[in-house]
């Protein structure tokens, strides 16, 4: 299915809106094409392609609303979809959190689409997998990896005159390389807006070097260590920084159930909570990690600073909570950028007397929301550093740590790299808490 242009999408949405009999109506059209290839044991295991386009109709009568969706676009189906949303709305209870629809908005011009990624073919994916496998076979190592690419569009229109449209592309690649005897493992991961930036071989080489270098890991005592956390140890679907960024909701802070809640009531907006070198913001127009120019509610996203020099500058305010507190609502961003310096991971290693280099953290779960304490483990490349050099691989550790404590124990901040649609620097942290050893490789 081709990605619909702004005009094509809005033509459909105008037609759908014309069927509405509700007080308010929002129609959203979203389409996505995705392709993937997965390999393991130096063999392709699965590959697939999917595409889907769907229409979401949200109808409102006063404070009651109903949502219906469909993925066929003949007139009868579209009319039925609108009718269904209205039926559901009439039956729905009144929503105490209701806010009226947004009117017309001004949006930035998105920069998050690359035609090269939209044009990716099964052959492109197969070549990336083949390159990765070939390198590992040459080095008598075993590759397991995954490549997924996608292009999508999102168009929105409502009965108050809001009109929004954006396109997006992404390519995610990850590879785990293991020694055949299972005593060494390494990992590399990257994502791009532009598929042409993918170098599967180079990424596989990083993982292969880590796998070969992590054989015969030594056990060292768990405890508090200076660590260098590579970006993959900070950002992932469940990463420490992702979890921090997901925890900036103003309502839960005001309700008293967040690390941002203040004793006696209120929230910690404006308080210095982190090392003054910590600045985190979102910018949808960043060319290295571009984002969406509006969120799921149609709110425009723009550059916004969340943490500035360690101080909590902004939190997420839903439209309802913003109205209740007489502040501006905050669009939920599609990524974040953490300011950093110019040091590479190698530079950070050189300046480390004793420490541990961590490639990746995994199975990260919250332990205590009160302190934002998380547990998880190192994985796929953990090395002991002494006198500025990697001395030897070490066995993996379990950590119990809070990103709040971690971001108060900063030794050095490196050069930001893109990961998961964000820009994140490697961090050198003192007193990072490892609580036990793991035999896992």
């Amino acid at each position: 299915m081709p990605i619909l242009s702004k005009d094509e999408a809005q033509t459909i949405l105008k037609k759908v809106l014309s069927y509405s009999k509700a007080d308010e109506c929002t129609v959203t059209l979203q389409g996505r094409t995705r392709g993937n290839i997965r390999y393991a044991r130096n063999n392709v295991s699965t590959a697939g392609a999917t595409d889907n386009v769907s229409l979401v109709v949200e109808s409102g009568f006063g404070k009651r609303s109903g949502v219906a969706t469909c993925n066929e676009f003949d007139e009868a189906t579209l009319r039925r979809c609108v009718q269904r949303a209205e039926e559901i709305a009439r039956l729905a209870p009144e929503d105490p959190d209701y806010v009226p629809l947004l009117g017309p908005q001004q949006y930035l011009t998105p920069v998050s689409f690359a035609q090269t990624t939209a044009n990716v073919t099964p052959d492109f994916r197969a070549k990336a997998a083949a390159d990765s496998i070939a390198l590992c076979q040459e080095r008598k190592l075993t590759a397991a990896g995954y490549l997924e690419d996608g292009a999508s569009f999102l168009a929105m229109r409502n009965s108050k005159g809001l009109e929004a449209y954006q396109q997006d592309t992404s390519l995610d690649f990850s590879v785990t390389v293991r020694t055949p005897d299972g005593t060494g493992s390494g990992y590399a991961v990257a994502d791009f807006t532009d598929a042409n930036k993918l170098d599967a071989k180079a990424l596989t080489k990083i993982a292969a070097d880590k796998a070969a270098g992590s054989v015969n890991a030594k056990a060292i005592e768990p405890g508090k260590y200076t660590v260098i956390l590579e970006p993959a140890a900070l950002v992932s679907d469940e990463g420490l920084l992702n979890n921090l960024m997901y925890s900036l909701d103003a309502r839960s802070a005001d309700e008293g159930r967040s690390f941002l809640s203040k004793k006696g009531g209120g929230n910690k907006l404006g308080q210095k909570l982190f090392d003054e070198r910590i600045t985190i913001y979102s910018d949808p127009l960043n060319t290295e990690a571009p984002g969406n120019v509006f969120d799921g509610n149609g709110l425009p996203t723009k550059r916004i600073t969340w943490i500035e020099k360690g101080v909590m500058k902004n939190m997420y305010y839903s439209r309802f909570w913003a109205q209740k507190n007489n502040v501006a609502p905050t669009a939920f961003p599609s990524g974040f950028i953490m300011e950093g310096g110019t040091q590479t991971v190698q530079d950070m290693i050189k300046s480390t007397e004793k420490g541990i280099l961590v490639t990746r953290l995994w199975y990260i779960r919250d332990v205590d929301p009160q302190t934002l304490l998380f547990t998880g483990l190192t994985r796929d490349g953990t090395f002991y550093i002494e006198n500025g050099k990697i001395k030897h691989p070490v066995k993996n550790f379990r950590f119990n740590e809070s990103p709040i404590i971690m971001l108060n124990n900063i030794e050095a901040i490196g050069k930001p790299q893109r990961l998961g649609g964000n820009l994140v620097p490697p961090l050198k942290i003192r007193d990072f808490t490892f609580t036990s050893l793991s035999d896992a490789v």
């Binding site: 995705r34 393991a40 063999n43 392709v44 295991s45 699965t46 590959a47 999917t50 979401v56 949502v67 219906a68 969706t69 469909c70 269904r84 039926e87 039956l91 209870p93 929503d95 997998a129 397991a144 995954y146 997006d168 990850s174 590879v175 293991r178 299972g182 997901y246 909701d249 309502r251 309700e255 008293g256 159930r257 809640s261 203040k262 006696g264 984002g291 799921g296 997420y316 961003p333 599609s334 990524g335 974040f336 995994w362 199975y363 205590d368 929301p369 302190t371 304490l373 547990t375 994985r379 379990r398 119990n400 809070s402 998961g420 649609g421 609580t435 036990s436 793991s438 035999d439 896992a440």
Partner: protein
């Protein structure tokens, strides 16, 4: 954050932050009434399936199967006195999997017509042939005899989708009221209902029609001490089940009292959400002032609701053969329980530990008549008297371990996804001698009783794990002496199971379960139950999780 998380903290997601992780409600949003429209009749589905199978064979497939699936979901979400969201979704389509040149190919379509399915079959063959150029090991399928035309249905008493929304909302708001009336600061509750209507056909000669039901009521109660800024929550002690709405009609016979002094009730095949919400509120307030645990070695007495998660992570996952063989290396990881490790005949656990895999267990999430590649389901031993006996395997894995039979645990989360090996119900068998929870506690000198599942994390080979819980009670000289807080235990899988010292008898046996166990790339969700009785583990390392953040 990824752009695919675009919807982020809008609407439902924000409320759901305070609930246990919830399964996505895929598909098109429809009216609740549409969930009651019968699926296409079997004769039509057979015609459609044959179109796909014939097209695959004509295109050069040596084997093909097709799954015509209709997934119905309903989620009802509330907080305190308000309904936050009600979603009813339907997803309908077909997935065709083929073997060509000894290589798998898969394609799916939501155009459920003879032409649509034939086209998907041809695309699947095309993909298989393209991938065969990079394939070095040809797929070998364990033989399966065709079953002809058969059907299976979850033996429900009341279809949850037939229960009026108003009645379900009333129940959830009733639970919320119990919490608020008893002094909770906040409460969220939800009810998830799933119906998978699956039609499977293969070139082996099977035409299998299945109707599978699941249900999950849950809540999270929060108490806040504004003066100190401390907040705590307690989640429901319900288990998601392979049942209909009858699960929500409480029966006294299904209630299992926790140990004396604990004020806990466990639930078997029916759940009393009003009673649990009341108890949860009492307990969550106690948590605000409970004693912080002193780290050290304790004998742990683990209730079935809690232990299910530990079984899941430290036995269920490491005995999945695809992990063992390295197919999950880039995502979920591998396993310590390799074929070489098994050959050494080292004990996985103490002699008391008997763990079975079972795809037929009544009321369980994993119960089906046939798996997603047409294999009749069964029950088999994974661990017997502490020794690892077998793994979980599907048709293309059996030959890799010198066997010629699938275990019938192949599953795809929807018609749009390729089926692969997924965890069956994995359960710890109850003790053979009569033993109550109270009797078990009496024998513990220095211990902790843990109920409910909390935080959980385990390494990529399933050695090192850390588990929290919902409520913790100190055991001192055979008696429960009060509530504890900030408890987590860290353990190594083999040490943990080898420290198993006692298991309560069958009268205490009940399910824990998960609606959304993730595995694979792209990740797929599956639902699985874990049965056990309360079990004692000696000398487990307990840490204190309290921290100061200024």
């Amino acid at each position: 954050m990824k752009r695919r998380d675009f919807v982020g903290l809008s609407g439902l997601a924000a409320g759901a932050l305070f609930l246990p992780s919830f399964p996505g409600l895929g598909g098109n949003l429809v009216t609740p009434e549409q969930l009651l429209i019968p699926a296409a009749d079997v004769a039509l589905k057979k015609r459609l399936a044959d179109a796909a199978l014939n097209a695959a064979k004509s295109a050069g497939a040596s084997y093909a199967d097709v799954r015509i699936g209709r997934s119905l979901n309903q989620g009802i979400f509330t907080r305190e006195k308000q309904v936050q969201n009600i979603q009813s979704t339907e997803s309908y389509g077909a997935g065709v999997r083929v073997l060509a040149n000894g290589t798998w190919g898969f394609a799916s379509t939501n155009t459920v017509s003879e032409a649509g399915l034939a086209k998907a079959a041809q695309l699947a063959v095309q993909i298989a042939k393209a991938n065969s150029k990079v394939q070095k090991e040809q797929v070998k399928l364990a033989p399966v005899k065709g079953h002809g035309e058969v059907s299976w249905k979850t033996p429900i008493q009341q279809n949850a989708f037939e229960v009026p929304i108003a009645q379900k909302v009333e129940l959830l708001l009733g639970a919320n009221a119990k919490a608020m009336d008893n002094g909770a600061s906040f409460v969220n509750s939800a009810l998830f209902q799933v119906n998978e209507q699956k039609y499977f056909a293969s070139t082996d000669g099977s035409y299998i029609d299945q109707d599978i039901h699941r249900i999950w009521p849950t809540f999270s109660v929060t108490a806040i001490d504004r003066a100190s800024g401390k907040f705590r929550s307690r989640q429901a002690l319900s288990a998601p089940m392979g049942m209909g709405y009858e699960y929500l009609t409480p029966k006294a016979a299904d209630k299992v009292a926790g140990p004396a002094g604990s004020d806990l009730v466990g639930y078997k095949n029916s759940y009393d959400i009003l009673e649990d919400a009341t108890a949860a509120t009492k307990q969550v307030k106690q948590k605000l002032t409970a004693k912080s645990v002193t780290p050290g070695k304790y004998d742990l007495v683990l209730d079935p609701h809690h232990l299910g998660l530990t079984i899941h992570e430290s036995v269920g996952h490491p005995t999945e053969l695809d992990r063992v063989l390295g197919y999950e290396a880039n995502y979920a990881g591998t396993s310590f329980a390799t074929l070489e490790w098994r050959a050494k005949k080292q004990p996985y656990g103490s002699k008391l530990v008997n763990i079975v895999a079972d795809k037929q267990q009544a009321n369980s999430l994993g119960a089906v008549g046939f798996d997603d590649e047409g294999v009749k389901t069964k029950k088999w031993d994974l661990i017997k008297e502490g020794m690892l006996i077998d793994y979980q395997k599907i048709r293309d894995q059996a030959a890799m371990v010198g066997q010629n039979e699938s275990d019938g645990c192949c599953y795809a989360q929807s018609w749009a996804d390729v089926q692969f090996q997924r965890m069956p119900n994995v359960s710890l068998q109850p003790g053979k001698t009569k033993l109550s929870v109270d009797d078990m506690v009496k024998g513990v000198d220095k211990g902790i009783y843990i109920a409910g599942h909390g935080s959980f994390s385990i390494d990529q080979q399933r050695y090192n794990s850390q588990f929290g819980g919902q409520v913790f009670y100190e055991i001192n000289k055979g008696k429960i002496t009060g509530m504890l807080e900030d408890v987590a235990y860290q353990t190594n899988t083999l040490e943990f199971w080898n420290s198993c010292a006692a298991i309560c008898d069958e009268s205490d046996y009940r399910f824990s379960g998960f609606f959304n166990d993730g595995k694979g790339q792209p990740s797929q969700s599956s639902a699985v139950s874990h049965g056990s009785s309360t079990t004692r583990f000696n000398g487990v390392n307990v840490i204190n999780t309290a921290r100061k953040i200024g």
